[in-house]
């Protein structure tokens, strides 16, 4: 196990910066998920950690020792690739033996270690098979087996579940987390899937355009996203953003959404909103916080017409227009909702995010 520290890490290909000024401290045994859209630099960061890609600038250290010039072998990392990258001409057993043979482990120990890992991952029956004859989930497990036999200081995962179907992905996600809880090895996991990020990580690192935008526990990222990008990337369906302005009404304030929905601001929330009176801003609200009439307390209600309804069984997603913007609400199964219906929705000011239009920074509600 190792702690990892990245300082000002950067990388450019053909003059364009792919990774820029990444600072990150990863504690020993921590499970870190790098998440972001494709091309955000997360995989390049991982490959620099692995030693497959040289660091363009900045410093990578393991346990306080700079490792920029170390080979992957010297760094003692193990990696699971999106394509699994199993050795196609070797059996499952030979695949798992390969890293041990490179480390010159005695023959008896190799056999015992491979057997142990195979048992842990339910691979014992498959040891004599070639990768070609295995299913996606089995290949994935072999790739993990090959990674764990060496007891590496760091596990690196590069979108390991992307090639699996939805059901298997959920199952493997749990297995990966269980494996980490058992082995307690420092893990860096790259994905573009926010569900994987939320469920697996001790801490999530949200990246965009080569930079780290926010680092925090899954709930921190969800509850207090730093920017509009983070808020729209984490959470499904994503947070609604609506252009808004404030208007004085005597002693009180009125919040206009898109100049079409008028919401009187409850007195308790006037101090929070007052500074935004002369600034361009949007409000952000998560779909699950747009309640139906009569739900929640201290809410402000408004009428709207549903444009589209999707019932998934456990919950219902309703799309409706606020001015020119389409917004989404998620309710516990409401089987009576139909497009064209007029509904009264309740805006909970306790859960209102304020987005600075110029910078995209978010003023999150107090927890």
């Amino acid at each position: 196990m190792a702690s990892i520290s990245l300082k000002n890490l950067g990388k450019s290909f053909n003059g364009s910066d792919v990774v820029k000024d990444v600072d990150l401290d990863i504690a020993e045994g921590e499970f870190i998920v790098l998440v972001g859209p494709s091309g955000c630099g997360k995989s390049t960061t991982l490959r620099m950690l692995a030693g497959l890609e040289s660091a363009g600038s900045g410093e990578i250290s393991f346990d306080g020792t700079p490792v920029n010039d170390w080979t992957p072998k010297e760094r003692n990392v193990a990696m699971v690739f999106q394509s699994y990258a199993l050795y196609p001409h070797m059996t499952v057993e030979a695949n798992m033996r390969f890293p041990l043979e490179q480390s010159k482990m005695p023959r008896e120990d190799v056999a015992a270690t491979v057997r142990g890992a195979a048992e842990m991952l339910n691979l014992t029956q498959l040891l004599g098979r070639k990768p070609k004859t295995l299913s996606g989930g089995q290949r994935q497990r072999v790739a993990m087996g090959r990674a764990i036999v060496r007891r590496p200081a760091v596990f690196l995962f590069d979108e390991p579940l992307s090639n699996l179907d939805a059901a298997l992905r959920t199952q493997m996600r749990m297995e990966i987390r269980k494996l980490h809880d058992k082995l307690q090895t420092t893990t860096v996991y790259v994905t573009h899937d926010q569900v994987e990020a939320m469920t697996l990580a001790d801490r999530v690192v949200v990246m965009d355009k080569g930079r780290v935008i926010q680092v925090g526990t899954p709930m921190e990222i969800y509850e207090r996203p730093a920017t509009r990008f983070v808020a729209s990337f984490i959470g499904s369906p994503p947070m609604n953003f609506v252009p808004a302005r404030l208007e004085a009404a005597g002693n009180s304030l009125v919040l206009w959404l898109h100049d079409s929905v008028r919401l009187p601001v409850p007195p308790a929330h006037v101090p929070r909103l007052l500074p935004w009176r002369n600034r361009g801003f949007q409000i952000g609200v998560r779909p699950e916080h747009l309640l139906q009439q009569g739900q929640g307390q201290g809410v402000v209600e408004f009428d709207t017409v549903l444009c589209a309804v999707e019932v998934t069984g456990s919950n219902t997603q309703a799309l409706f227009a606020i001015g020119a913007t389409q917004a989404c609400a998620v309710w516990q199964a409401d089987w009576s909702a139909r497009p064209g219906q007029t509904r009264t929705l309740a805006m909970n000011f306790e859960r209102l995010y304020i987005v600075d239009e110029a910078s995209g920074l978010i003023d999150a509600p107090a927890a």
Binding site: P72, P88, F98
Partner: protein, 307 residues
């Protein structure tokens, strides 16, 4: 089952069936029409001469006429009394030497050319050039390189104490092999290069992460993954080298003192210079047998590991 079900109404059954039969027959005819011209062409230029050669090899000959049946007498004669064994030995040395040198050279260059480097396209083109050059030109070019008085290689050799290359019985075969390697390695290189590009980079990266050195990555991962293609390249080079006549004919004509008289050259000489058709046919059949034997051996040795 399916057709029966879709044709259910009885009255309309005969009409579509007849037309379907007609179109099936047409399709079959079409197949034959495409197949037979090619087949007949191959038969005319390959099977007929091949059969003729085998037929001739077990018969006596009177100039171009096929004579009486002699069984294996031609083979016994050639092998026991007419230098056939020596020619086979020289062929094997020529082929073995060429393949043993051209294969690692071709693979090595392919590995180099597969790495990112400057001027890669240029080097790829230049290194393929020997393949494009005809055997005739190859022979003349190397004859000049080896020339006793003018050849640049000869000058270098002289400083090592070797007086003559292509004209010295001790060095003639080695010189021919070198020439043939120069002409043959590009085939191995091109095949290997193509195969290398099908090896997924992630698999090589996985081996790097697993701690394998570049050398071990090549032997344990890359080579097994390109083995099938390499096998084809080696077999092709073997067949091609066994059958090589032009280069040898131009450079040594089998000399000096028969030091380079390989079996293929013997076929040419017996057939087209001495007009001893039975000897030429017998030697040709021997080459065919050797080709088959060597190809099978390579296929066995380089047996694929793929499931």
């Amino acid at each position: 089952m399916n057709t029966a079900m879709t044709q259910a109404p009885g009255s309309t059954m005969s009409q579509p069936t007849r037309s379907r039969r007609g179109s099936q027959a047409l399709r079959l005819l079409q197949g034959y029409a495409f197949f037979y011209p090619a087949f007949l062409l191959v038969a005319a230029v390959l099977f007929v001469p091949l059969f003729h050669a085998i037929w001739q090899s077990v018969h006596a000959a009177d100039y171009m006429e096929i004579g009486r049946f002699v069984g294996l007498a031609n083979f016994v004669n050639l092998l026991m009394h007419d230098g056939g064994l020596r020619d086979i030995g020289l062929s094997i040395v020529f082929v073995g030497g060429s393949v043993l040198l051209a294969t690692p050279l071709g693979v090595g260059l392919a590995v180099l050319l597969n790495r990112p480097m400057r001027w890669r396209a240029f080097f790829r083109t230049v290194l393929v050039a020997p393949w494009v050059v005809s055997q005739l030109v190859t022979g003349l070019l190397w004859l000049w390189l080896y020339d006793d008085r003018l050849g640049p290689l000869q000058a270098m050799m002289q400083s090592l104490g070797i007086r003559a290359l292509i004209t010295d019985p001790d060095w003639a075969m080695a010189s021919l092999i070198l020439t043939n390697v120069w002409h043959s390695y590009p085939l191995v290189m091109v095949f290997t290069l193509a195969a290398l590009q099908t090896v997924p980079s992630e698999v090589i990266e996985a081996a790097t992460i697993d701690g394998a050195s570049a050398w071990r990555r090549f032997w344990r991962i890359t080579l097994p993954l390109i083995r099938n293609t390499l096998k084809v390249a080696v077999v092709l080079t073997t067949l091609h080298t066994f059958n090589t006549v032009t280069t040898i004919l131009i450079m040594t004509g089998g000399g000096p003192a028969g030091a380079t008289e390989v079996l293929a050259l013997r076929v040419f000489k017996e057939g087209f210079q001495f007009f001893r058709m039975e000897v030429a046919a017998t030697a040709a059949v021997l080459i065919l047998l050797l080709n088959i034997a060597f190809s099978l051996a390579f296929v066995r040795v380089l047996k694929s590991d793929h499931a």
